[in-house]
Amino acid sequence: MLRRRENWLKALDGSSENLIEIRDLMYSRGSRVIFKDMNLTIKRGEVTALMGPSGTGKTTLLRLITRQLVPQHGVICVDGVDISSLNQAGLYEMRKRFGMLFQNGALLTDYNVFENVAFPLREHTSLSNRLIRHVVLTKLHAVGLRGAADMWPSQLSGGMARRVALARAMVMDPEILIYDEPFVGLDPISMGVIVRLVRRMNDALGITSIIVSHDVAEVSTVADCSYLISDGKVAASGSPDELHAANSELVRQFMHGMADGPVAFHFEAPDYAEQLLGRDAE
């Protein structure tokens, strides 16, 4: 095990274009195996999309990458460093390079919008209030919510909260931005703006972006590379065009939204007719 780990690390040194590498990942919750022998690479400076049916563990994967969860087996390397080897200080140093947009925004409820966005600045820098104000308003302006600076998280709609959270994720100018379902609950206008913002930050600032989304169409416009995750594994990967052209049944089913195919639309369940007739209760 240890020897294999060393070999991986050696292999990683050469290829610095890979920012995040996941090898042989195994993770289970209770008896439910969520990932098994998963391998995945995220390239520096690209927008990588993680797609997959609901409940396959996309959010879980993001939490594993940022070590909010610890895998039972396998190695996750960020920039050549095995994150399981970091102590708490090292982990926090690493996380400063990340910005993360949570699926539900996760704004701090005892601060208003402005203070939410200012939070990382106040915690990690000693900038003057004027400078903080400047930075925060710029970021809020980028997501179109400069006017909402004095509002409280409870007064925001779901889409607004997620845009504020996006501003907060960007405020420290991270190297890696992780978006968990950034497009859910946005109207077409904000969606267009946010998609372009993601792309622009990526190109102009050289950020590496990881986007989790179900939205095949939006992902196609913004991602350089997509991974389709299903059944605890990477089922397909490639550029959006490649995925669209792929003739694997599973990929076609997902990209075109069909109910029948290798991916079961239903969560594991006993036989429908049997359950309705109450046979398994006997």
Partner: protein, 257 residues
């Protein structure tokens, strides 16, 4: 029989594990405390306000009535032995050594403790603590330590207020209502309440403050991140704090006798 032994083993194991984790949690809070006191006193002051100032009204109301009832009972029972002048002494000793710290701690658990654990539990359920982790901010230090310290600092003051208002309540009842002699009331009290009694009260209020705040923060932090989990954590805070306070009260009293 085997199953019974296994059950006993399992629950003992679980208890030891939880209790150990609880102690480690306490040490973690202590370890982060000095830094927070020095660097972020504002956060702690805010929590002293939340735990202390916002509990003040119920503490005062309850103190007034507890003191009043002590005055009534003390008078009614002492006057059977013609000792109604000692009402002041009885009330003061009861309040300073026992009822002040204990009742304040129970009220604190009900008012401030539940607020703390539900607030922290809700922050957990809505990913706010995870979001802090991702912003490289340690939620134990940033969220839990100030709340814990706020409670610990607020409690002795609340006990002091409760005790003083209680004495005032006893004064109202026994002097203005039952016409005990004012001079006797206060002089007897002064003669018989020693510094040791007050010290006992202070030690108790400090211990109860630590225990009630610690339990509230612990329960909130370990709540299941669901609506039901937060509700259950809140209930457990009150129940466990109450039990812990009463048991500790007995132990401290026995030791200090």
């Amino acid at each position: 029989m085997n199953a019974l032994i296994r059950d006993i083993y399992n629950s003992t194991h679980e208890f030891v594990r939880t209790f150990g984790a609880f102690q480690l949690f306490f040490l973690r809070l202590i370890r982060h405390s000095p830094r927070m006191i020095v660097r972020r006193p504002g956060l702690i002051v805010k929590q002293i306000y939340n735990a202390g100032a916002l509990s003040m009204v119920i503490i005062m109301v309850c103190g007034l009535f507890v003191g009043g009832v002590l005055g009534l009972q003390g008078y009614a029972n002492l006057s059977r032995f013609n000792a109604e002048d000692s009402v002041g002494t009885v009330v003061a000793l009861a309040l300073i050594k026992e009822l002040g710290p204990v009742i304040t701690a129970l009220l604190f658990a009900g008012r401030a403790g539940t607020a703390l654990s539900s607030e922290i539990g809700l922050m957990k359920a809505t990913d706010q603590l995870a979001a802090m982790e991702m912003m490289a901010v340690n939620p134990v230090r940033r969220v839990l330590v100030p709340r814990f310290l706020g409670g610990v600092i607020a409690m002795p003051f609340l006990v002091a207020v409760f005790t003083c208002i209680g004495l005032f309540g006893a004064h109202l009842v026994s002097i203005d209502l039952l016409s005990v002699d004012v001079g006797a009331f206060w002089q007897q009290m002064q003669l018989s309440v020693s510094m040791d009694d007050i010290r006992e009260g202070i030690i108790k209020s400090f211990v109860f403050g630590v225990v009630a705040s610690l339990l509230a923060v612990w329960e909130g932090y370990n709540a299941m991140p669901t609506a039901e989990g937060v509700g259950r954590a809140t209930t457990r805070t009150v129940v466990i704090s109450a039990i812990a306070v009463l048991i500790l009260d007995f132990m401290i009293t026995a030791v200090m006798l």
